[in-house]
Assembly symmetry: C2
Homo-oligomer: 414 residues x 2
């Protein structure tokens, strides 16, 4: 596949490229139409040729869907060889029957692949509170097994990337080649989500694969670090869903180890860049969105504080509405940044919007309204805030709030 962007120097040999979760060696991903949906792919299988080290992060919502509970147990054991995924039904708030259904999904898929059930993870996304239609799920698993038994291009991950979508308007995938001391490793990703909390028909799911040889504690740490700098900084509605998962499988098939620095740092950076790409894609594809909104907070006392403030700003309904209306309304951005984290001196704050200076040392600058509006006609709006309180920085990503968002979410079931 063609490299999309290179971020390469002597210490940083990472090449981002097109590709998905089937990109690394020994990974295959299949998508089928089971009948959950009228006429679109709706179930997927991600499979590794051998058992993979497994790192997982789950929603912090107290209401956890049944597949979250099942996959949590797989993650506790730390090894996974396959993930079966369905869209349209979240299998959440479905009681003990829902848990039994998630276990049945795991067992049926394991049977098809001739694996021990504890090697199979389960992920679901879609409507809450409706029992899984198990006949359809069973049929889908049969179809996935057939695809898996006749290896062809079907395992290239493209159908799978579509099958996991709900209200998303586009599949979200990316891959990376990473040059380490011992050779090249590959990382692949497929993601879905057009909101962080969409109990009706959405959720954030991310599946990341790599052929690197890496120990579980290091993979756990690097995945947690990357999630913290990516998916934890995106907001469409503001809250975690009942079904969110980030699952990462490392099967070691490249034979190239990630054991210590500088390899560890480079590999960790590649995970960050991939997941940040995925996070931006989710924000951009937010329900009803017309703009990707990025807020970068600089000069903060810590990265954590910068991230808190940036997230408060991308989450603010007033900031989001102003971006939609192409209004360079810096007061809303500064007030939102001020609502979270450590105190700072408002008289020190600088602010720019897509490069245009709006505020310097707390003083509003005169600016050309027409030029500002023209800058906001672009589909991306970047606010950069410098607090001059320290040297840390962080970005967060969101989208604008539109009448269409309200329409989608007010009229959803009618």
């Amino acid at each position: 596949m063609q490299p999309v962007s290179y971020i390469a120097n002597d210490r940083h040999p990472i090449a981002l490229c097109e590709g998905n979760a089937a990109y690394p060696m020994g990974f295959h991903a299949y998508g089928v139409h089971s009948g959950l949906r009228a006429a679109r792919f709706d179930m997927a299988l991600l499979w590794s040729e051998r058992p993979a080290i497994f790192s997982a992060m789950f929603t912090t919502n107290a209401v956890k869907a049944a597949p979250v509970l099942v996959t949590h147990d797989v993650a506790e054991r730390g090894v996974c060889q396959a993930i079966v995924i369905n869209s349209t039904n979240a299998n959440a708030m479905t009681g003990s029957q829902g848990y039994q259904d998630a276990v049945a999904m795991q067992e049926l898929m394991a049977q098809g692949l001739r694996l021990d059930p504890p090697l199979v993870a389960v992920a679901s996304t879609g409507v809450i509170g409706v029992p899984l239609p198990m006949e359809i799920i069973r049929h889908g698993i049969q179809e996935l097994t057939k695809s898996w038994e006749t290896p062809t291009e079907l395992g290239d991950g493209i159908d799978a990337s579509h099958a996991i979508l709900t209200t998303d308007t586009m599949p979200k995938t990316r891959a990376a080649s990473v040059t380490l001391a011992g050779g090249t490793v590959h990382i692949g990703m497929m993601v879905k989500g057009s909101g962080m909390i969409h109990p009706q028909m959405a959720t954030m799911l991310a599946f990341i694969t790599t052929d690197a040889e890496i120990a579980k504690p290091m993979l756990d740490a690097l995945v947690a670090q990357a999630v913290d700098k990516s998916f934890h900084r995106v907001s469409v509605d503001g809250d975690p869903s009942t079904n969110d998962m980030v699952l990462c499988l490392a099967n070691g098939l490249s034979g190239v180890p990630v054991a210590s620095d500088p390899d560890q740092e480079v590999f960790g950076q590649a995970l960050i860049e991939l997941m940040q790409y995925g996070a931006r894609q989710i924000a951009q594809d937010g329900e009803g969105a017309t703009h990707l909104l990025t807020v970068k907070v600089q000069g903060a006392v810590s990265e954590k504080d910068a991230a808190l403030k940036a997230r408060a700003a991308v989450r603010s309904s007033l900031v989001k509405s102003a971006v939609y209306g192409r209004d360079p309304n810096w007061g809303r951005v500064v007030a939102a940044v001020g609502s979270a984290g450590h105190e700072f001196d408002p008289n020190q704050v600088d602010l720019t919007m897509n490069g245009l200076n709006l505020l310097q040392a707390g003083q509003p600058l005169p600016f050309d309204e027409d030029r500002a509006k023209a800058l906001m006609a672009d589909t991306e709006v970047l606010f950069e805030v410098n607090l001059h309180a320290g040297s840390a920085q962080a970005e967060a990503w969101g989208c604008d709030l539109t009448e269409r968002y309200v329409e989608i979410n007010a009229r959803y079931r009618t």
Copy 2:
């Protein structure tokens, strides 16, 4: 004035009634048209015949407006006799000039009333980042002084209740008579706010007066308790503005002391009921709102946890959109409740909407969609969630999210 509702028994002799901040003995409130606005009252004076014990709570936003800083100093001293208020301009993010202007407002008003400046508090609400037009403010203070010098019905607080409004569609006032051991005391209130964070043209301001004789530490504690159970549980946009204030003056003119229980408890309860009334009024008058949304969380491990969860639910864009669309979408409510505070068992949760059972012990109940929609046609929607995890409960108040909200906030400056 006529009592509006009685909440009276032997231990609880509180009568809510129509009335405003000028209701208690010795308080007067005036409103004038200074010229900040085209043709509406825009400046107000609240004055006590003698210096009053002063309790104040301010925005937690790191970006604090100049009047917040000036009034904070008054609160530190603990005595206040007058508050001068302007709408349309927040005097926030206005640098050192803004601070000098707020001090000048304090000094000019003090001069007119022949008071020491430290006895005068200042409050502002309106646009951020625009210098106060001091010529107009000076004129307004002259007009307020004239009204004060010729005591007539002008001091009845009605004009003042209008003068403090911005995007509000109605004045928000209430009063109470409270029968204590030593006699009757009175409490009055005027409030403004159609959002918690509206840096363009709004903010929450509450002015509460009483003729009770009460020591500052007790007043501080009772005001903090009441704010925690009222204004801290309302959300329109979700965040505090740069200018939020709750100011309470107690001038003792009734001669009736509040010194210990049961008087302390009764007086505290009256403050809670008044402020909860104000909180509901603010939620109901949220920008673009068509429904008052109340979420009551019961069976929680603590009141704090119940309040956190209730606030998460009234703040959720998805819950707010569903209420607007008259969609009894209980999944969104449960997921929002699950996103905050302590874990709980989703399989125990009961949920009703305006009395209709939607969920029992975590199991969705069949219900008549048409009947549910009809129940939601009312202007008030109440979700009651029982977690069955403890015995504590709390309510929070918000409003629905409408296309009109987006329109108001996207098109505001155009």
